[in-house]
Amino acid sequence: MYVGQAIRRREDDRFLLGRGSYVEDITLDDPIAHAAFVRSPHAHAAVTRVDAARAAAMPGVLAVLTGEDWTRAGNGEAEGVWPVKDMSGADARTVNRPFICVDGTVRCVGEIVAMVVAEDRHQAQDAAEAIEVDYEEKPANTLTARALDADTPLVHPAHGTNEVLVTEHGLKEETEAALAKAHHVTEVVVPTNRVTAASIEPRCYMGHHDTVNDRYTVWTTNQAPHIVRRYFTKSLNIPEHKLRVIAPDVGGGFGMKLYHYPEEALVLWGAIVSGRPVRWVGTRSECLLGDTHARDHHTVGRMGFDAEGRILGVKFETLGAFGAYESQWNASITNAYHFTMLSLAYDIPAIHTTVRAVYTNATPVDAYRGAGRPETVYQVERLIENGAHEMGIDPLELRARNLIPPEKFPYQTAIGITYDSGDPPALVEKARALANYDALRAEQAALRAEGQWMGIGICAFFDMAGAGPVKMMNDLGAKIGCYDVASVRVHPDGRITVFAGSHSHGQGHETTWSQIAADRLGCNIEHIDLVEGDTDRVPMGIGTWGSRSLSTAGMAVYTAADRVVAKSKRMAAHMLECAPEDLDLADGEFTVKGTDRKLSFAAVANASYHSGDRPPDLEIGLEETSFFDPADCTYPSAVHLCVVLVDPETCAVTLRDYWAVDDVGTVINPMVLEGQVHGGLAQGIGQALMEECAYDPESGQYLAGTFMDYAVPHAEDVPSFGLDSHFTRALGNPLGAKGAGESGTIGAPACVCNGVIDALWHLGVRQVTQPMTPKKIWRAIEDAQRAQQ
């Protein structure tokens, strides 16, 4: 068996030796031209003049293109993948992110106003600088919290409001009643900070138009090449069968590389206009500004408890950021995914939430690892933490009193979603033991007596991963079918190629998909190759996002392999003159049960293609495809625990320990799982302590345009993680596997923030917003002490 083994990642040789092939590495016979962009320096402005005459005459320039050219060419608009209707039943006030400014107004810093295509990158950049653009600045607002204030400037005045849509979920009356009768009510303002994925490989695209065959090719840093193909039917009106999309090695996606970005459409358009392949390689500054941002919710929460600390009800009012426009998926994050997990790992009888999605003059927001659920966990867990302190109940004990007991599964939450399986009390007990919780509390008390500030952070949650099923996701708003697909092709020599509609950009599919296939096919893993990320080689697919690939594409590999086994057994049975049921397939050989009669898998494969002697109704060939539509989402769960130390003089936070106990169902490869959890934790810790896509609130200027200004954690900023796991089986797929990609980012922000609050509670501090930089902690302590005087 390969499944369950910590097999070394087969792709790592290539990556570790610098032999990966990324979009920037691709070479072509034709010389590749380069694109550069003129971007708005203003948060909101009318574009009154664009003069490209000087730029067009500069050395090496092949084309200069503006919004007028875009419109004249008959190009189109982006389209939402996941529109959500307003609760009134009306369509949302959607304004899609433009590829290039076409209506004479720019609405966030970085919006593209013009494009230059030139022989080389420097010439393109020089010419872009020579394009003269006049702007008339308009009032702007970059703060989500202020989006609906009466005096806030409108991003899209035609709509008369900055509100995109409003949705309500849960039990309104029950929640009000629960809060009214509660013994204690905790209220906290729980905003989440605006962050971005900051993948190591910047976004990068190349477009090519083969005029002889009238075919188009796009190489893209994208997680879902088949959806890119679909996007192009709208942006450049290219029919799907004429476009090949290749997503080669991609250096980190995290949801951020799921969209049809302006530059992606523009490079192919530039190639069509200039007759040359055109490439753009994003600089770090362009990417920190133009990659979709994430989170940025402004939420007020109220939680009611009975006298024993049992949660009676919880209510939230949220403003969810869109930024200046809708990126293709964002409605699904703010108004579909976000609310589904509000019950976390707790048995909460009444939950109600109102989410108003809003426009601001800032970069569009969309999914980033966790997509809506880090906000969910943060807002619920911050209330629980404060509630525990206010009621004088140990924070872990209060949580334990509220956990969903194992016998209640499948558990229908008050928000409407049903968790298929899980055992939160078991997770908590493992975390308690792993961290030696009681000893930590004793240490905390001893340190506090010496004037040292130590805090223990906790959170417990469920995730909704593995989208589909197709119908369920359609009902939540998806216009794409959330299945995935795989083909298993057995070659005449018995070697196997697996084709999958997923895309690996760090997940390790070459290893894990092969582990699954090898087990089903009873073959050596070395005999399997995986193909992903090329729409000409893999005809359909939905791609990798939302911790979905294992429970969709991975299961398609599983079922396609089973179909291959079934067919090959018929051929083998014919050759061995027995019934298919009498055959075992293992170690590359068919054996007739109870005998020593054998036939190699390779011989059967060869005969499947080349022998006329076969069962009369058996078709030639040995290749099967499975479109897998899961029976349910998956619901991974986890408990996190951490220890933080806050320096009483400088207020700097040291994260000393971090433990995570995850229930991800069946584990395919424990090492890959650990890697996923580690990476997610680091990103979640970054969100809690240092990352922020900051704007100057007055000028709307972007302040996080380099890695000197946007801090991501270094290895030394995170502790060595202590991990454990607990197994309950997912019911929606045959392997019982749940998603594992997002648990770290979903839990870590809440856990670390709760740790800091726990460290500072005795000083009167009740909330510090993320990222909890030294200056903010210092300020919170100052304010708390002033309030106490």
Binding site: H122, T283, T650, M690, A704, M708, A711, H714, R779
Partner: protein, 285 residues
């Protein structure tokens, strides 16, 4: 973005470099490139010409000079950081290097380039002022020596003229008995939110001389004279620590930015002053 066009000249000697500076009034010296190239890539600076000094022979020395140390303009950060001579004669600089940049940056970046860059949040200017270092500048007209205290004039602004090259940094021998460095930054290795570098000497249990130098909280690194005055003349006890910390906080006029606001920086200066003075006094023992 990537840099606009520039001319590239490679100097084979210090004389050649300063001649090239004289001949090209909009030229800049290229040392490790760790600040200059990043700013050119962002098109924040646009020198028409770079004079690369990396091939100038024998300019990366770190050697004894009397009871002090002389450091050539091409000595890399990491060479200075790991120099036993520097550790013995100027341990404050060695201690400060624990907070400066990252290994790969230090492999290329030079101490000289760092000082000429004069970033207001940089650690090294504070150290240079605290130990009383001297910077040697050369042009076609000759050489001159400028005290560190007079070298830093503003953000990215120094006393070096456009036609002058920094050729050597001179650290005096151990003048003060005690020293300490402390910094706050959002992440280890980042530019500082606040830095204090302190040197002091005790005589018969009383503070005889003190330098308390701040960086990251003004246009350039500077001594906090009121804090020094609060220390000199008496024992370094809790009362004087408090007084020095308060005086230090009162002596700075920090800015607010996305990393920290002014009030926090002022409080940080007080905390770091207390911390460094206490440690420096302990080290006098």
């Amino acid at each position: 973005m990537k840099p606009p066009r520039f001319r590239y000249l490679r100097a084979g000697s210090v004389d050649g470099a300063v001649q090239a500076l004289a001949d090209n009034p909009d030229a800049r010296i290229l040392a490790g490139g760790q600040s200059l190239i990043a700013m050119m890539n962002l098109r924040l600076v646009r020198p028409a010409c770079l004079i690369d000094i990396n091939r100038v022979p024998d300019l990366g020395y770190i050697r004894e000079e009397g009871d002090g140390v002389a450091i050539g303009a091409l000595a890399r950060h990491n060479e200075v950081k790991h120099s036993e001579l520097v550790r013995a004669r100027c341990p404050l600089l060695t201690e400060a290097y624990e907070s400066i940049a990252h290994h790969t940056v230090r492999n290329r970046g030079t101490l000289g380039g760092n000082l000429c860059h004069a970033d207001p949040s940089s650690e090294t200017p504070a150290v240079m002022i605290a130990v009383g270092a001297t910077l040697v500048l050369q042009s076609v007209g000759g050489t001159r020596a400028v005290g560190a205290e007079d070298f830093f004039l503003g953000t990215y602004e120094t006393a070096a003229r456009q036609d002058e090259m920094l050729v050597e940094i001179r650290l005096p021998g151990r003048g003060a008995d005690g020293w300490a460095f402390a910094e706050i930054s959002n992440r280890h290795g980042d530019f500082a939110i606040a830095v204090i570098a302190t040197t002091l000497s005790l005589e018969n249990g009383r503070c005889a001389a003190a330098r308390v130098v701040a960086s990251g909280v003004g246009e350039h690194a500077a001594r906090l004279v009121p804090a020094e005055q609060a220390l000199v003349g008496g024992p370094v006890d809790e009362t004087r620590l408090d007084a020095a910390a308060a005086a230090a906080a009162g002596a700075v006029d920090p800015h607010s930015d996305s990393h920290a606001d002014a009030a926090y920086r002022r409080d940080a200066v007080a905390a770091l002053t207390r911390r460094t003075v206490r440690r420096a006094a302990e080290r006098c023992g």
